[in-house]
Structure formats: C-alpha cells, structure tokens
C-alpha cells in the first residue's frame, strides 16, 4: 500500500492507495473547511496551515482506510510544482515518516499526479490518450504514451483556464475563487448573448488573458442595473468562450495525433459545460478533479522510488524547468 501526501497549494491531503490502484482512503482539508473552523475569518495563505493540518489529516487517512503504518510499503509526495514553503511541509513530513519506518520515498510531479487520477480502479485508463489538464494554475495538453509520464503538446501562454474562471467570477461579483459559482450562474444565462473573442495562438497553445480583459471592458461599460440583469448572460457567454477554446484545441490536437482518445483532469474538469462538451472523453471522477493525494499515490506506482535513506537531501521545486 502507498501513502500519498499532497501540499503543493491550498489543500492538505493524505491518501492510501493499493499497488493495484484501489483507493483505501482520501482525506482533503481544504481552505473552505478552514474558513468554517475559524468562523469565516480569512486565514492566511501560508504553509503554517499545512503544518497544522498534515498530522491530523494523516491520522484520519489511516483511520478511514482502516490501516496501520505497518501496511504502508512506500511514501509518495508531491515535489513540485507549487508554492515552495507549502511543498516543503509535505516533503518534510513524507521524509520523516519514510525515514522512521525505513521505507522508500517516491517523489511525484504534481501534474503527473493529475494524469494518474485516471489510473485508478475500477476502470483504469490505458495509454495512449491525449490529456487536457485544466486547473487554477495550469492548462496543458499532454500526449500520454505510457503511465510513467507524458509529453507536453500545448500550454497556456498567459492565464490558466481556472484562473480565467476565478477572475471572471470576481469581475461579475461572484467572489474569488468563483469558478464553481460562475458555472452555476451560467446555467441561467444565454451563452450567445455576448461574443467574447478567443485568442488564436499558433500550435496547440492557449491564451485566456485577452478574454478576461474583454469581460472587464463589458462589465465596466454597463450601468449597474443593466449589469445586474445581464449577469447570468455574461457568465454563460464568458464560460462558453473558455470551454469552446479548450474543446476546439483539444479535439484538433487529438486529431493531429492520429485520433487519440481524449481525457480530462484537473479542477476545471468539474465544470458542467466542459463535461457536457467532451461527453465522449474519459473524465476524472469529480472528487479527484481538484487537488488530492490519491492521484499522488497513484502516480507513485509508475515513478522511480528512492531507497531508504537516500532521500533526506531531496528538495522541492517551484516551477518545472
């Protein structure tokens, strides 16, 4: 059994996954839960929160999986990319746990983790496939030929799709992060009410920065009462533009690669319009779209392990080179 730890951004997560890809437990302490615990006070964006949570979350993952540390054969952890201080909390916890139990440590790339959310039972996906990875921090098209890795065929040149959703939501007065709120609001609106431009960039790359600015200008120029009346139409049209860009590029890349099947992972993979537009694709299970440790433990099944105790000097990385 592999114990996975993920602390690259906002979520503190620990999970247990068997070598066969069965999920034994999945615990995620998100910022939302923390908001509730602190009575709605906005907590700081700091690794101190991960430090407070990583111990309790680890205990809960073992408890929910009805497992003891004796059954853990390897410790997997996100090494990057992410916020350095946050990554180091998870990495240090993983090293301490592995070292104290004389276990191997398996460092995992966070993006490989997202792709590996598709390798779980039942219904583990077999490469080759084209993977659209869409989250708050990333928008990537990955050519996946083996479970051990991927080749990047496209990326955003400016904002990630998830960031475009979150900032669009703030412009529309739906809060931040507001990707999910925007998705809900869009259901009451007309996706063709406004025509938002989608930047044409060469190859299979994406650009969402201009779209965000276009929404800003429309919102800025609308009188307050008119904005109130058109909010759902704006949300629907804006979302439609993002989803159309994602779907068009993904389908074109799949075609170019010889008709590869399509898969979708990452937080924006929970968006209802995207899921409907790519209904023929393999979609990551909803609870595994946002950051979690199940995907990290899953990816570890296909990544090289570092034997005890050679991992003590291992460092985190903020940005993939």
């Amino acid at each position: 059994m592999i114990l996975g730890i993920e602390t690259s951004c906002d979520e503190t997560a620990v999970a247990l996954v068997t070598q066969d890809g069965e999920v034994r437990s999945n615990v995620v302490a998100s910022q939302a839960e923390l908001h509730a615990r602190y009575g709605g006070v906005v907590p700081e964006v700091a690794s101190r929160r991960h430090l407070e949570l990583v111990g309790p979350v680890l205990s809960e993952a073992l408890e929910r999986g009805k497992a003891t540390l004796d059954e853990v054969e390897a410790v997997a952890v996100t090494r990057g990319p992410g916020l350095i201080g946050a990554l180091l909390v998870g990495l240090s916890a993983a090293k301490a746990l592995a070292w104290s139990r004389r276990l191997p440590l398996i460092p995992v790339d966070h993006l490989h983790g997202h792709v590996a959310s598709l390798y779980l039972e039942p219904g583990a996906l077999e490469p080759p496939f084209l993977c659209l990875l869409v989250s708050g921090g990333h928008t990537l098209l990955l050519d996946v030929r083996a479970r051990s890795g991927y080749h990047v065929v496209g990326t955003t040149l400016d904002d990630a799709a998830g960031e475009a959703f979150d900032k669009g939501a703030r412009l529309l007065g739906l809060g931040y992060p507001g990707g999910a709120a925007l998705d809900r609001k869009a259901r009451d609106g007309d996706p063709d009410a406004y025509s938002f431009p989608v930047a044409r960039v060469p190859g299979f790359d994406f650009s969402f920065s201009g779209l965000k600015t276009a929404l800003l200008y429309v919102v800025r120029d609308l009188p307050a009462d008119e904005l109130e009346r058109r909010r759902a139409d704006l949300a629907a049209s804006y979302q439609h533009a993002i989803v159309r860009a994602l779907v068009e590029r993904t389908r074109a890349a799949a075609m170019e690669l010889g008709g590869q099947p399509i898969a979708v992972v990452g937080g924006v993979g929970a968006n209802s319009e995207l899921r409907a537009a790519l209904a023929d694709a393999t979609l990551a299970p909803l609870p595994l779209c946002t950051d979690n440790a199940v995907m990290i433990a899953s990816a570890a099944r296909y990544a090289p392990a570092i034997p005890f105790p050679q991992y003590l000097a291992l460092d985190a990385y903020a940005t993939a080179a």
Binding site: E44, V45, P81, D158, S209, T213
Partner: protein, 153 residues
C-alpha cells in the same frame, strides 16, 4: 518618474525588457495595475530579456513561480492575499534569494517586501493602450529605460 505609452502587448513586453536590462540578482520590481492592464505581459518581456525561454504565465493561483536561469527569475503574485503575516512572508522569502524578483499585486505585501529598485504601475488607456509609469530612486535608470523602450531607438 517616467510615463510611457504602450499600444500593444508587444510594446509592454519591450518596456519590461528595457527594465530587465538594468537588473541584477537581489533586485525587486513591483508591478501594479488593475486586471487586464498587462502585468504578466510586462514580466514576460522582462523574463525573456533575462534569458528565460519557457512559458511565463500568471502566478495568481500558485502565488509564485521561479524560472531557473542565469540568473533565476522569481515571479510572485499577491492577488489572493488580504495582507501579509510573518508566516506568509516566511513562505515567500526563499523566492528573493539569488534571483531577480517581480511582484504583481504588491500592495498586500507592504511592510514585508524589500524596497523595490523599480516600481511599475500600469493603467488602462482606452481599450487598446496602456499607460506605463516607472519609478526608481535612480533617475539615470529611469532615463535609460525610457530611451531603451523607445521603438524608434
């Protein structure tokens, strides 16, 4: 203080590049401005001039990017911060070690961020143009940048 006008993302990148040529590891540049004024575009132009060839994207969600190079370029974004605490500064400090640092939405970091060598403010001017205001305590630097960013130069 110098004011420049940019009529396109390419021009904003060129101004970023002109600023970058003045910088060395340890220098901090703050980049302020509303959504969509071109802060990330400015940093991309600067990072390119410093030799970074990979994607330079918005760090709003991730808070920090560190692009490995010679020198490393750190790209921070405090958009999600409500203010700054010691713990939060502790997370960011490593990005300032041995790197040229750009900070978007620096307002939340007041009192914690090291003094900026150059402060950049971007403003919408109509739907296509941007006003780029550069401020540095070194007047000669301001003049060199405004000359270097001139497309006719």
């Amino acid at each position: 203080m110098v004011e420049l006008e940019s009529s396109s993302p390419e021009e904003t990148e060129r101004i970023g590049a002109a600023v970058a040529r003045e910088l060395e590891p340890g220098d901090v540049v703050t980049v302020s401005g509303e959504l969509g004024t071109g802060k990330t575009t400015f940093v991309r132009g600067a990072a390119r001039a410093l030799g970074i060839t990979g994607p330079v994207t918005s760090p709003s969600y991730m808070i920090g990017h560190r692009y490995p190079g010679d020198p490393d370029v750190s790209h921070l974004d405090l958009y999600r911060f409500e203010g700054m605490s010691d713990a939060e500064w502790g997370d960011l400090e490593r990005y300032f070690e041995e790197a040229v640092v750009f900070v978007e939405w620096p307002e939340a970091g007041e009192g914690f961020l090291p003094p900026a060598r150059v402060r950049v403010r971007l403003r919408h001017r109509g739907d296509t143009h941007r006003l780029v205001v550069l401020e540095s305590f070194e007047k000669a630097l301001e003049i060199r940048v405004s000359t270097g960013a001139d497309p006719r130069a």
